[in-house]
């Protein structure tokens, strides 16, 4: 799981660059980066596509004649039929595929967001604490991260699912809890370099508590890495979810997710192709675009050109 899209390697390289260079400088950086991002055609196009998919998933269901859990007994496993309002066909239970794709996309996006937020939260706190206090604390904390890296993640995810059952929220909080390692490393490196800077020194001299300093002065400077990290983590989690769905450990019916839809669609690719093509197209374009955006952001925020 860690590194499904090569995120960890990309980010570690990025973090090393950050450490060797000056810390980022706030607003001018953001404007600068935005300008560069806008020039990246692939990333801009991807942004539009992702935006479209989000609208499709969250607004689309209101425009359809069928709900995602409604059975049309007259159309069980039928190809697309515009007159009946099944624009992407129906599944084996006679439910409208387009409605299910929208619901599945919603579910995939939500779980990915939740898991990413959990991992960013843990990673930022953990890394900032390790970096800020340094010394022995840092050594012990980072050794722990090294150890965690050496554990076979996917096995732990499966064990977690086995225990938590099929509750998607618990599950993805669980995955988030396993995903934060790279974030912690990056944040620690950043913190190490930021904490030497004048404004932090000044705050310290002014008697600010470590916690206040971390939240007020260090965390806001981490926007760049966090944004990149998040864009690259979301596709990974969506892929992990699809893997779990293939194993039969996905979300509970009648809810669905892109991974569940694809794992049901792939065995019937020949006989009921509409059950695979729709969800696969959405999943692949979503993941492709998110990866392009992540890359674009990384290039835009690249410290070496500053």
């Amino acid at each position: 799981m860690a590194g499904v899209t090569g995120k960890d390697a990309v980010l570690t390289a990025y973090a090393q660059k950050l450490e060797t260079l000056d810390a980022p400088k706030g607003r001018s950086l953001t404007q600068d980066a935005m300008r560069r991002l806008v020039r990246n055609k692939a990333a801009v196009l991807s942004l539009f596509v992702v935006g479209f998919i989000v609208v499709f998933a969250f607004v689309g269901p209101y425009l359809l004649p069928w709900a995602y859990d409604k059975i049309d007994w007259s159309a069980i496993r039928k190809p697309p039929n515009f007159e009946a309002g099944h624009y992407a066909g129906t599944d084996q239970n006679g439910r409208d595929m387009l409605a299910r794709i929208m619901q599945g996309t919603q579910m995939s996006l939500i779980v990915a967001l939740v898991a990413t937020m959990v991992s960013v939260f843990i990673g930022v706190i953990y890394g900032a604490v390790a970096g800020y206090f340094g010394g022995k604390v840092d050594a012990v904390m980072m050794r722990f991260v090294d150890i965690m890296y050496a554990l076979p993640y996917i096995l732990f995810v499966i064990i977690l699912v086995v225990i938590f059952g099929r509750n998607p929220v618990l599950l993805f909080v669980g995955i988030g809890c396993l995903e934060w390692l790279t974030m912690a490393r990056i944040v620690r490196g950043q913190t190490l370099s930021i904490k030497e800077r004048e404004f932090v020194e000044a705050a310290k001299a002014g008697g600010a508590k470590p916690w206040t300093i971390i939240i007020r002065h260090i965390v806001p400077n981490l926007t760049g890495p966090v944004v990149i990290y998040a864009t690259l983590t979301i596709p990974e989690i969506i892929l992990t979810e699809s893997f779990l769905s293939y194993l039969g450990l996905g979300v509970q019916e009648p809810q669905t997710s892109l991974g569940t839809l694809i794992s049901f669609g792939s065995p019937v690719a020949e006989t009921l192709p509409w059950m695979l093509i729709g969800p696969a197209v959405v999943l692949v374009s979503l993941l492709l675009c998110l990866t392009y955006i992540g890359d674009g952001l990384r290039d835009a925020l690249d410290p070496k050109d500053r």
Binding site: V4, T5, G6, A13, V162, A269
Partner: protein
Amino acid sequence: MFGYAIRRVLSALPVVLIAVTACFFILRLAPGGPFDGERALPPETLANLRAHYNLDLPLIQQYGIYVGRLLQGDFGPSMVYNDFTVAQMLWIGLPFTLMLGFTAFVVGTVAGLVAGSLSAVNQNKLPDYVLVMLVMVGLVVPNFLMASILQLVFGVYLDWFPAGGWKPGSLQHLVLPVIVLALPHAGRTARLMRGSMIEVLGTNYVRTARSKGLGTRLILARHAIKPALLPVVSYLGPGLSYLLTGSLVVEQVFALPGIGKYFISAALNRDYGLVLGTTILYMLIILAVNLLVDILYAWLDPKVRYD
């Protein structure tokens, strides 16, 4: 260097032990047990079975027995597969999983490096766009989908390769599984290679070389490849462990005799012994790979000190 290696191994042991302990108790927290099949067993049979596997003892005592056996290299019995011990099953499956993983590693790394370099040299030209797109598709298509598509196309329609199964010594049977497993790895490697190659190609000394009129091929061979490889090399360690532990789906779809699919079925069947055995083995593999990479690094780069 030996001292360093030994220290690393020793420091890893507590990690394994902690993970084993956590797994042991977490598994027992999970609802359901190894004998909860479709049919209720008569209570006397259930009692017999539980006694047979020591499951009637207090949990802490069972843990003691397990760790005691483990220290002697005994992984205990499987509760679902009666004709083999866990150790026997793992010993039979491990060589296959390792072979599959290493083959995919070599294939994927080479393919990734070539694709990444080609892409970088032709940056922002058509071959670059095509390659980047292909690489991305390899990355984002879920592997179970990729596996069943390849199986259908190359195994059934074209009938070029066997659609599954394994015969010892048969390369044909490995082609499709290796491709499915290697694709994401090739993709990750290519992404890294492209990035670092572009950076190297933009450095002053390569520009100088170019201005001197050297051909692209010569520049690549003499100046660019080596420095560009460095960040890629540091990724190969995690990449390899990812491949070795990532063969679950491939083994399942192609019905291959590796240890990956044991893990899944054992976790679902609550075959405690087999789940723990597989987890421990995977951890040892990852630790060994990491150690190997560290030592290799230390050997490559004399600046790294062994502490």
